[in-house]
């Protein structure tokens, strides 16, 4: 409650300041009073109707006090009329960084080359990196609001597609002022252009029973190692990390990141008979068969009489009632998460947890969409040394990418061009059948090094 009151007091102080400012500075006068008259926005008005929260109503609320937003609405309405965009990029930044600000200048000019909506002629965005899991306290959010009301448009997006908090809409002059305040709060700019980009991690260990590693720690440890590559774009193209705590991959990392770090486990699925029985009472045999057993992609599940459940070390079983159990052959399980999702708690990820790392996910341009490829089937991620190993691997990947990718080529395209085996060799990673869907389906390969490779594998095995 005290925060609420403090917020109100701050708001009151702002209004007082606004009033006292009037006589002092004539150009402030207009800004601090009601803003100028709104443009007609018949198209945008349509988007104030309907039950979903309306961003247009929000823009109009801001426009009541800011000429800036009156003109932004004017330009947006023009886009709705003509079905054309009117922003162009440029070069705007903050002192000391080469990226993180998305400059926007209006291209909607009159016959004299003057902006049609002059008060919104500059509408730059600051990309700011969120905390892992996108948790906030209201004090922080209110401070964001206050500083952005002062220096910017008052429009903030939570969050952009890369995960940034997007402070949308500031003049060139105000970008630095806004950044200084944001930076003093302990927040930093994210990536833009050919740079390591802002990252995202799932809610993970903070609130999810499926979490297989400390996503927030991995997120911060890795990303904060590459701040120079975030703030000073100098890579062939963008490089994205994403961190998902389990194979449900809530961060969509396999499709959207150059390096995807996904939690998994090596040992058996854990079971809880109390929750298993509770689930079975509620859902019954039909749902168990149709929704759980039949949907296991590798047929690793069987319903058994408890007395017939196998005793092997790789078998786990959860009781359904006093007579029957669901048996899992963990050697066949691919850790897809389906049964664990359906019977949450009754089934759970194992204890020997770690991560799988995939490389090369990206969207369409230029050669078509690519999913990431398994590069590290499993590594532990618990000790300080484990985290060091992760950042070291990331560093070596980025170094290789920086030296070998062509301009505007993503890691996936680079690997497509040079071949996975070449990439692995350079990274000093042993090949593993977990990296492929199947071995090669054509004979077009020169294999005169075969015996040497076999000897190397044997020698490694013996040394281990």
């Amino acid at each position: 409650m005290s925060r609420l009151i403090a917020g109100k007091v701050r708001g009151y102080c702002r209004r007082i300041k606004a009033r006292s400012g009037r006589g002092v500075h004539s150009s402030r006068l207009k800004e601090d009073m009601m803003a100028k008259k709104m443009h007609d926005t018949p198209n945008l008005d349509e988007l104030e109707k309907g039950p979903w929260p309306s961003f247009v109503s929000g823009l109009k609320d801001l426009a009541k006090e800011k000429d800036y937003m009156v003109d932004l609405l004017g330009q947006l309405e023009a886009s709705y009329k003509t079905r054309k965009g009117y922003w162009k990029g440029g070069t705007v930044g903050v002192f000391g960084y080469g990226g993180g600000v998305i400059p926007r200048f209006t291209e909607l000019k009159d016959e004299n080359g003057q902006p049609v909506f002059k008060d919104a002629a500059e509408f730059h965005t600051l990309r700011v990196m969120p905390p892992p899991g996108m948790h906030y306290d209201t004090g922080t959010l209110r401070q964001f609001c206050d500083l952005w009301e002062k220096h910017g448009s008052g429009l903030i997006a939570f969050h952009g597609q890369s995960g940034d908090i997007m402070f949308q809409g500031a003049t060139t002059e105000n970008v630095q002022k806004a950044f200084d305040e944001i930076n003093e709060m302990g927040f930093d700019l994210g990536g833009a252009g050919p740079a390591v980009r802002t990252s995202m991690s799932c809610v993970g260990a903070a609130r999810c029973e499926q979490s297989c590693y400390d996503e927030a720690r991995a997120h911060r440890t890795v990303i904060n190692t590459f701040l120079d590559d975030i703030h000073r774009p100098s890579l062939p193209y963008k490089f994205k990390f994403k961190f998902s705590g389990c194979p449900n991959d809530c961060m969509n990392s396999i499709q959207r990141s150059d390096m995807s770090v996904i939690g998994t486990w090596r040992d058996n699925i854990r079971t809880d008979d109390t929750l298993g029985k509770k689930w079975f009472v509620k859902h019954g045999m039909n749902e168990l068969v149709n929704d759980v057993v039949a949907r296991c992609p590798t047929k690793a599940l069987q319903i058994k009489e408890i007395k017939n459940v196998r005793k092997d070390a790789h078998i786990s079983a959860v009781a359904l009632d006093d007579a029957q159990a669901l048996e899992i052959d963990n050697k066949d399980c691919v850790r897809c998460m389906h049964c664990v999702n359906v019977m949450t708690g009754a089934l759970a990820p194992g204890k020997d947890k770690g991560v799988t790392i995939l490389i090369g996910g990206k969207s369409h341009l230029k050669i078509g969409g690519l999913l990431g490829t398994v590069i590290i089937p499993f590594m532990k991620l618990e000790s300080d040394e484990d985290f060091e190993k992760l950042t070291d691997f990331a560093q070596r990947t980025i170094d290789f990418f920086a030296e070998n990718a062509l301009e505007h080529e993503r890691t996936g395209e680079m690997i497509e061009r040079i071949g996975l085996a070449t990439f692995l060799e350079a990274m000093e990673i042993d090949v593993d059948p977990a990296m492929v869907n199947s071995p090669r389906m054509n004979p077009y390969v020169r294999t005169d090094g075969w015996d040497d490779e076999v000897a190397k594998i044997k020698a490694k095995k013996q040394a281990a």
Binding site: G50, W52, P131, H135, G139, G154, F187, K366
Partner: protein, 359 residues
């Protein structure tokens, strides 16, 4: 740039620690959760190994939020949720409470303030989207507006959990597809090659970069009206728009010829099958601002057929895997045209090399 006279050096602090932002019960049980269930749409109930419980109430937002809206959400968090919130990847906001009695009044407060509670489990959740006309430099359409119009139509499905499995949607304002993979996506599809302003190319574009950017090598340097410019082999051009960002004088957006396409069956998760990319199933829809009714009609049609026909836990991709593409087109009434047959690199893997046909 009018930088301040006294230049302040940035503090390269990077990603901030989230510990101080966590709800106290989350901080206490970090890494120690046992299971969860969903007592009602829009509410997740998590139980820790030690017995602590939290209820997370999820609400939809407009993502592009004005400071008044954010402060309104903060007031609600201060009143109910220990002054803490978190956002999901799809711009929903979550309020966490450790006392079940707070759930109902919290929901009431959110709904009263205009934020729909839902988006959990097998609902249609908020649409992942991009910037569009509001802020992008290359948009073929708007983003927030399309999303607002569609979420108005899908409002009830956001608040209910009546779909076979969760439904993720995305929109993208150009073919770069920043909106990402989804069960159902709406993406701009240009149908005419770029219109080149030859007066500007030499001064604005780094020509070799633009030539290199084209996926089908359809762009080549040329002298036009005595000025160095670029020309397009229109028989090769597939109108992707990749040349437009590095060379704005190659205008790809057109009020009429930039259409909207619908894609289905992208799956992010590894659950059941491996992750999948989505497939184009409809195109040629008009970019009909401000409410895009033709797009909404197709989206709703696909979703309603899936809702009716999908079995529990089948994502859009799983459902289509079961019923097959011929039946998908039959049931949705969408025309299967020659443009939906893949002819890009590796496309033969998408052709049916078997007698597996459902009749």
């Amino acid at each position: 740039m009018n930088a301040p006279a006294q230049m302040r050096r940035p503090k390269e602090t990077g990603v901030p620690d989230n510990k101080k932002y966590l709800h106290p019960t989350l901080a206490k049980n970090y890494g120690n959760w046992r299971y969860h269930d969903r007592p009602r749409p829009g509410v997740l109930h998590h139980v820790a190994h030690g017995g602590d419980e939290v209820w997370s109430v999820r609400a939809g937002t407009q993502r592009q939020m004005d400071v008044y809206t954010i402060r309104k959400l903060c007031d609600i968090a201060d009143q109910f949720a220990e002054g803490r919130v978190r956002f999901t990847i799809r711009s929903n906001i979550e309020f966490i409470v450790a006392d079940e009695k707070k759930v109902a009044p919290l929901i009431a407060a959110l709904e009263e303030a205009g934020f729909p509670v839902g988006g959990t489990g097998n609902s249609v959740t908020m649409i992942a989207h991009t910037q569009g006309w509001l802020h992008c430099d290359i948009p073929g359409t708007d983003a927030s507006g399309v999303v607002k119009a569609l979420m108005d139509e899908l409002y009830d499905e956001f608040k209910r959990e009546e779909m076979p499995n969760r439904v993720h949607l995305s929109t993208s304002c150009c073919e770069i597809n920043c909106g990402g993979q989804a069960d159902l996506a709406i993406i701009v599809q240009h149908t005419k090659p770029p219109v080149i302003n030859h007066e500007l190319v030499a001064n604005v574009c780094e020509r070799p970069t633009v030539v290199a950017r084209c996926p089908v090598a359809a762009i080549r340097p040329a002298m036009v009206n005595g000025k160095p410019s670029l020309e397009i082999d229109e028989s090769k051009c597939m109108c992707c728009g990749a040349c437009y960002p590095p060379c704005p004088p190659m205008q790809i957006n057109d009020p009429e010829y930039s259409k909207l396409a619908i894609w289905v069956g992208g799956k992010n998760s590894n659950a059941r099958g491996k992750p999948t990319f989505m497939k184009m199933v409809a195109s040629g829809l008009p970019n009909n601002a401000p409410r895009w009714p033709e797009v909404a009609e197709v989206v709703k049609r696909i979703l309603m057929v899936y809702k009716e026909d999908g079995r529990p836990w089948e994502r859009m991709a799983d459902w289509i895997d079961r019923i097959g593409w011929p039946r998908f087109f039959e049931k949705t009434g969408l025309p299967f045209t020659k443009y939906l047959i893949d002819d890009w690199t590796g496309s033969r893997a998408n052709l049916n090399a078997s007698t597996h046909i459902r009749f």
